[in-house]
Symmetry: D2
Subunit: 337 residues, 4 copies
């Protein structure tokens, strides 16, 4: 930790800062410039990360030297992690496709789509049974019945399933069906939920919140790992900017940054990221080129009748076509599909 004082900081103020750091059990190194005094704090930064150094009179700014995340940091493992979801492993040279409808709507719908995406090359089936919707009047998902339909789609296709859990009260139920739990963007900082999924041994895909910095995303993942569950995937799914021609702004910059900062696998969700069907394929290809370990894509055979996200869902034949193109890009960047 480095503390920079204000130009008008008094000697007494500086002394008080130094004394406090010493009381917390750390050492200091004081450099006096013409305009500012710089106080370097020597010792385990953790001990004082939470101290309100900025609240001391005379302090202009406080700069950490170390990063606030530990278990998720690349340094902690020194090598990329693999996460197993049923028979599928994410984080290897093989790019994994997760596909399915936004919401589970009926037995016929989910099984039809599941078979279709499995045939095209998807390895994991997505589908929402509990749906976070902006409006209380929108379709909220089939709940337990939706989970049962997902279960049957898994029986038919062999694909493991990923589905969202929105609340700690539903966790036991969802965990009984899901092969991978999804934490949605709106719950990225629902810390109670993060802790609880951290206490399961299920894989968890954590989506980045719309205003979450990459650091925030990593800190939320740290909650899950700190409870003992290291089976975590991070998903970029679009942030909120001033742009209105796309639903969100898919931030692919996050992919190489995350690959450098953390050992956890990175998933890209171009469907929510751009939010307009015709632009999804380009962003899916770009996601793979940027280094994603997996893609999540929404597919619906009747988007005009979808109960949610029809506007951005690919039709099965569009998905088929896209898989072929994804495979070529994956191979071009030294991966496979």
């Amino acid at each position: 930790m480095i503390i920079i004082t204000r130009p008008d900081a008094t000697e007494a103020q500086i002394e008080r800062i130094v004394d406090s750091v010493h009381q917390w059990g750390l050492k200091t190194e004081v450099s006096r410039g013409v305009l500012r005094v710089v106080i370097g704090v020597i010792g385990p930064e953790d001990k004082i990360r939470e101290k309100p150094l900025g609240a001391f009179p005379g302090v202009e700014s406080v700069m950490p030297v170390l990063k606030p995340y530990k278990l998720v940091s690349y340094e902690f493992r020194g090598t990329p992690s693999h996460v197993k979801i049923g028979p599928v492993t994410v984080g290897t040279p093989e790019v994994v496709l997760m596909a399915g409808p936004c919401s589970v709507e009926s037995y016929e719908q989910i099984t039809f789509i599941a078979k279709s995406v499995a045939k095209a090359g998807a390895k994991i089936l997505r589908g929402g049974a509990f749906k976070p919707r902006t409006s209380p009047y929108s379709f909220q998902g089939l709940g337990k019945v939706g989970l049962q339909f997902l279960h049957e789609a898994r029986e038919l296709t062999g694909m493991p399933i990923i589905t969202e859990v929105m609340d700690t009260k539903d966790l036991e139920l969802v965990a009984a069906y899901a092969d991978c739990l999804q934490i949605g963007a709106r719950n990225m900082q629902n810390f109670a939920l993060l802790r609880e999924v951290g206490r399961t041994n299920l894989p968890v895909m954590l989506k980045r919140g719309m205003a979450a910095s990459i650091k925030d995303l990593l800190m939320s993942a740290e909650y899950i790992l700190s409870e003992g569950n290291f089976n975590v995937l991070l998903c970029e799914r679009g942030i909120r900017t001033f742009e209105t021609m796309t639903r969100n702004t898919l931030d692919l910059n996050a992919v190489p940054v995350l690959k450098a900062e953390t050992h956890l696998p990175v998933v890209v969700d171009p469907t929510h990221g751009v939010g307009v069907r015709e632009f999804v394929p380009a962003m899916a290809l770009a996601g793979v080129a940027a280094g994603a370990d997996a893609l999540m894509l929404e597919v619906h055979h009747e988007p005009e009748r979808a109960k949610s996200d029809g506007e951005q869902s690919l039709r099965p034949h569009e998905f088929d076509d896209l898989v072929t193109r994804i495979r070529r890009v994956a191979e071009a960047v030294g991966r496979s599909l």
Copy 2:
């Protein structure tokens, strides 16, 4: 709802859209321009708000005519609402001050601060027992013990208390102590929690998420009202922008917009909004001038020892001084304190 077609939309595509609208039980009015066809949908917009009109081939854009919120809209009441929190009413010409520490840290701390802010003019005591923290390694609040200390502070001062609930599992416990429940910015779209607080009869202060539009905030409030609880306050507490010299960007524009759009009272939290102690007073005064019905302010007598938010908490004498200045501005805009 108004549907605008693409320039290359075919007659068959237009017919299919019109037919679908008719099947949903609404009427259409078709205007043909040179480049685009405009399809007006006549009838209750609710019926088709959820239909994926954008998913139909040939559609360029879909524009709603009506607003998606109902119970929270100003039109629904036609007059501002009052919300009672214990003996205090928010939403009247009197500007209400909520003050207290970020976190409840000890019996001594909360009672000392409570007495101090009560004497200065605060009417409601704030203090967190369950704390949403970015890092799992940060102080997470005293939990039940913190609630008990808040209870004792209320006994001593007569001030009702507002405190955050972070998870549905904690709701029963928090509701047993709180006079007003707080939903934090990170949980603004925790829809399960919104529904559950909507089923209590306690006042709820809903904070705007960091990337939430004003419309999103109103839709989240609609969740609570749609469960029958109309005792809702909306709180502006800063959004996330590219600016780094403040912790967040307190969006005071939201105050007059909300006063026009909804009957619910509006609270401004300059402490989190700007996040730097020396700038809090200016933003508090500006919030009152912009039309806030209440202010929420963090106060700590030893910010250098605070377990959270020391950098932005006012000291008691700073709060005292600010109350005097707030009173003058409140009176200048035709209100009182």
Copy 3:
């Protein structure tokens, strides 16, 4: 300057950094932690601010100790500056009102509005002769004729005039008429223009760009001061965020931050900042409460016929009414009008 190395930085890399700093004529102070090495640079920071320290292998981050602006910094003067615009001084306890139409449209229009706002209490007349418009097909201003009409409005009312200059080629012409030059938000980083207005001795009002940080704004002002012109006003006029219910997000947080960081006077433009007429008064009052030295407001007597910005312009009677309310708030915060 403080340099933090990567955990995998080699001794050779660290040595090379230290050697380079020494070659640039500065000293270093090296602290070795367990995971990172911290290299403090001792000496005039200016000398190495432009050095690409981040480009050295082994560097993780580089943190400046001093601020990059000098002449505009509060420390440089130690007291707030006053800027004289004709007979009016901005930066004193008196809050100054600048008002007038978005564009000068005709002799009748500008003189009518000028007389009206002068009577109501405005001290400076605004009006655009050269208009920056998003579309090439929009009204682009009357140019020289507009400046002549402004001149006549000044003759009639005695009010000095502020008007925008958009290009270095127009500067001589605009400077012949204007009492204060305005640099618009879109030109905040038109560095050629900044330099040239810095070489005049006219007051300059510099508007913050829509994506400009407060630091960027100060650096742009530094361009003007570094050419010798210290008569600079800074204007907050709204930044771009994800919010769509307002045209921009007026960032009033910038007011107290600027008052702390710089000696230059601060102007708030609520008209462009919020961009919706009915919300302008609340934001004007909030701007004064936040500490603005002046307000800029658009007024038009026939907004339905305005050639630009009709949607956000106040009618004269609304302006009259607002002036009364502004006066009360100004007095409440210890200022006058």
Copy 4:
């Protein structure tokens, strides 16, 4: 244009709106719902795009039916445009690489780098002679001397050159040397400059401003085309968001959106877009996968001594390596290099 009235709009207000539209020479179609009246305007939308319909009492919102850009719209041409820069054509299936240093620093520097990138596969040489710098104290470019060095590098390598023009006063000079003019992000809405480059017959690469929406970018291009110059390239180079781990947020979503909205070729600048050397290659590959027609990349053989942007410039061997990888991805998406 579609006008939606407020719920409290009076008949007289509605009549006045309709009358005004009729006076402007257009027809109306009025639909009365229970809560709102919808007034469809029939006729050429251009005529009333600039009318301040939102300023009429009783209006809640105004929605355009047509897009505000014409000459740049895809519909205007119906096929992608090719832009010739010297012997190179941008907009064909061949992805074009533009490379070179941020700034021209010396004859040796620019010729060395030019030869190096030409050999690796770049087709166009970039290099700044006039540099837009946030600080007046930073290196501002070599000006005319820099242009002469660029000229000599062109002689040596045969590569056409692209370089920035920052001010109308410099245009004649820069145009005498450049094969393609660059308008930088900070000047994207310098409308005087846009008009003047529109009057040359040189190709122009227009960079997206940091807070510019895609629509704004297209409107700025419209300025150039409306003066008769159709040789325009659009460049995505990163927008400003809350993320701080990258210098900007390269918005690759803009690539497919632009390819759908306009016939103009699209360039991606990953160097400025992400702003950190180690992340540039991933974003370059992603840009090609997203559909970019060209990439602009900064290369410097001694980034530790670069006078600008050393932190983000690739070294020649890194560029070499990247070209090979770009070629593979280009081929994977059906293009060549």
